[in-house]
């Protein structure tokens, strides 16, 4: 211990015990400054004001007992070492405390000043080491991910060169090509695509691991996505004469998920299923609701392949896990696919798992949350256990001008969504997640807890912000309208949950009618102002 004065916080309610400890501390060789309090709340307050080098803690205080005491101290000041002062009968508890992160314990009535000094010194040193270790681990992870990012970027340049020249020759731009040459080049191209997939997977997995993967959930229909995935994989399945079928529940609700990510998961699972199923086998995709878990849709991909053994099952979603017997001739061979799928599903608050026995095929299942407008609306349309008095549905339509390239359009409306989120009152208004999978024009909706009069100010504010910050001039046409949400007269009689559901149902109805009307191009509802 250095010559500096050690700040010690002593939390002990028994005055006799406190005095003894204080005496022993002062007797010691190094200068100390002891702050003694007799309640946990005072101790926590003292910790907030000034960070001591160590906390000496009695576990039984007037305002806290046992395990709770050290848990709260460590929660409050995770970087300060704690030494528990326990009574003779509390040794078991003290040991438990050490297992949970306390640095040491001493038994009262038996402490010499040398013991105390040593305990404190070791506690401080150990804590320092733990912190250094933690920081080193974080740095390593960060370094590794940056490195992988950099590598995947660098690999793209030579890959692009190969891709460019192979396609140049294949497309006949360097002279005529005989069929045999074309065949060979197509083989090269397949490898190029595989490499490309590997690099993409590498980057995705790295992002997933460092928590940088983003998903943008929308309100989507699974039917479309499943069809899309199946259509994409059908040629591969046909190549092995594998039957590919889709089975959907009659009325599948909309889900709250990122369509491109869900597609990624579907493609991954289907690709694997086809890969591990022999000729003439079958792969079936299903989507359905399950009574036991009402908030989710269950999507499964089953194959008639050779199944997965228990060892593999335990590790199959881990990074870089690869079946040693697999013959890989399609997608990425890095073994990252299922790891990425798991991350994507996790970010959607869903689950993914596999059920399989060797020789009996496999079924991979994942869940996605059902889009429930009522759930999203509840915190916003209620206040102090009652439904707010009035609601308005604001419709914001963005239509791109002329033939703006797709990339620019996606960025424009995404920016608008961000701006919109910032111009509403988060506790009273809800910006609905966008609907549908593609966007040729985009319609956004806001449910606002206000009346028609208040809605006037709101629509003006939204329009002004979007035009100014969204930099829309010359890029797209903006239309902002507001309509009062009329609720059935008996609504106030129902219980709160039902009332919220009624609001949600009415809003859904209004949106559907609105969308249909726009599709058919009929009629103009309330006043519009265009620019």
């Amino acid at each position: 211990m250095d010559r500096q004065t050690t700040q010690i916080l002593l939390i002990e309610d028994n005055p006799g015990d406190a005095d003894l400890v204080r005496l022993r501390l002062v007797e010691g060789k190094s200068p100390v400054n002891v702050n003694c309090v007799n309640r946990l709340s005072d101790g926590l307050a003292a910790l907030s004001k000034q960070t001591p080098a160590v906390v000496l803690l009695d576990l039984n205080l007037p305002d806290s007992h046992g395990a709770e005491t050290f848990r709260r101290v460590m929660e409050h000041a995770p970087n300060v070492p704690v030494v528990v002062l326990s009574g003779q009968d509390d040794e078991a508890l003290a040991i438990k405390a050490v297992h949970q992160g306390v640095q040491d314990y001493l038994i009262k009535g038996n402490i010499s000043s040398r013991q105390l000094e040593r305990a404190i010194r070791y506690a401080v040193e150990r804590q320092g080491l733990l912190r250094a270790l933690d920081m080193a681990q974080k740095q390593q992870l960060e370094f590794k991910n940056q490195f992988l990012s950099h590598v995947s970027h660098e690999l793209r340049t030579p890959l692009t060169c190969i891709h460019q020249y192979v396609t140049l020759i294949l497309d006949g731009l360097a002279g005529p090509v005989v069929p045999e040459q074309s065949d060979h080049l197509k083989t090269v191209l397949r490898s190029v695509n595989q490499l490309h997939a590997m690099i993409r997977d590498l980057l995705e997995a790295t992002r997933a691991e460092s928590g940088k993967m983003r998903v943008e959930p929308r309100c989507i229909s699974l039917r479309e996505l499943l069809q899309q995935a199946v259509t994409m994989l059908r040629p591969t399945a046909d190549g092995k004469k594998i039957g590919l079928e889709v089975g959907l529940d009659q009325r599948l609700p909309l889900v709250h998920a990122d369509p491109s990510r869900v597609l990624e998961v579907l493609i991954n699972l289907l690709d694997n299923a086809i890969k591990f199923t022999p000729q003439d086998g079958s792969v079936v995709v299903k989507a359905c609701l399950v009574e036991a878990d009402p908030g989710y849709v269950f999507i499964s991909v089953s194959d008639s392949g050779r199944g997965i053994g228990p060892e593999a099952k335990a590790q199959i979603f881990e990074r870089l896990y690869q079946d040693p017997d697999a013959i890989d001739n399609s997608r990425s061979g890095l073994g990252l696919g299922l790891f990425i799928c798991r991350e994507i599903v996790r970010l959607h608050q869903g689950r993914i798992w596999v059920s399989s026995e060797p020789g009996q095929g496999s079924t991979f299942t994942f869940t996605l949350p059902i889009y429930s407008l009522a759930k999203l609306l509840a915190p916003v349309v209620t206040h102090e256990d009652r439904l707010r008095p009035a609601f308005v549905l604001v419709r914001i339509e963005l239509a791109p001008l002329s033939s703006l390239p797709r990339g620019n359009w996606k960025d424009t409306w995404r920016q608008c969504l961000e701006i919109l989120r910032h111009c509403v009152y988060l506790d009273k208004d809800l910006v609905l997640p966008p609907m549908g999978t593609s966007a040729t024009s985009e319609t956004l909706f806001v449910v606002a807890s206000t009346d028609l009069q208040g809605s006037g100010a709101m629509t003006m504010r939204i329009r002004e912000q979007l035009e100014r910050l969204g930099n829309l001039k010359g890029k797209c046409m903006l239309t902002v309208t507001a309509v009062l949400i009329e609720l059935p007269p008996h609504n106030s009689g129902a219980d709160l949950e039902q009332q919220v559901q009624n609001v949600a149902d009415r809003v859904t109805q209004m949106i559907m009618t609105n969308m249909e009307r726009n599709h058919l191009g009929a009629g103009k509802s309330t006043q519009k102002s265009k620019r």
Binding site: T167, D171, P405
Partner: protein, 134 residues
């Protein structure tokens, strides 16, 4: 009608050669530059109808070039397609905000790239020097 002129900017000479061949085969006239400074000079001298721009360039990277283009009355109207090895998650938004019309990550699908070029040069597209339609 004169063939549209495209300015290709990339410090990889192999890529320049391959792309030039492909664009010429699609009836575009092509001029090239290998660094940021040369890119601006070429834009000013050649007044291309479209620019394909890499981000990782010496002597002024792609973003510097985008900035200079946007700040020039004469050049701000030229559509710029960014073609870069960099990760779109971190760079697409930034590039579009800086004035690019589209972002493609290398290796790009040739057909998609040609399509976006065609769309950006469409009949309503401006000639360099005029303002966007409002």
């Amino acid at each position: 009608m004169p063939r549209p002129k495209i300015l290709l900017v990339d410090d990889d000479p192999d890529l320049l050669r391959a792309l030039r061949l492909r664009l010429r085969a699609n009836n575009y006239e092509v001029t090239t530059a290998s660094d940021g400074y040369a890119a601006i000079a070429a834009a000013q001298k050649e007044r291309p109808s479209l620019i394909i721009l890499d981000l990782g360039l010496p002597v002024g990277d792609g973003f510097v070039v985008l900035d200079r283009l946007q700040n020039s009355d004469a050049l701000a109207g030229i559509p710029v397609i960014v073609l870069s090895a960099r990760d779109p998650q971190n760079n697409e938004e930034k590039a579009l905000k800086a004035g690019a019309a589209a972002f493609f990550q290398k290796p790009a699908d040739n057909d998609e790239l040609l399509n976006v070029i065609r769309v950006s040069l469409g009949p309503a597209a401006p000639q360099p020097g005029s303002a966007w339609p409002s």
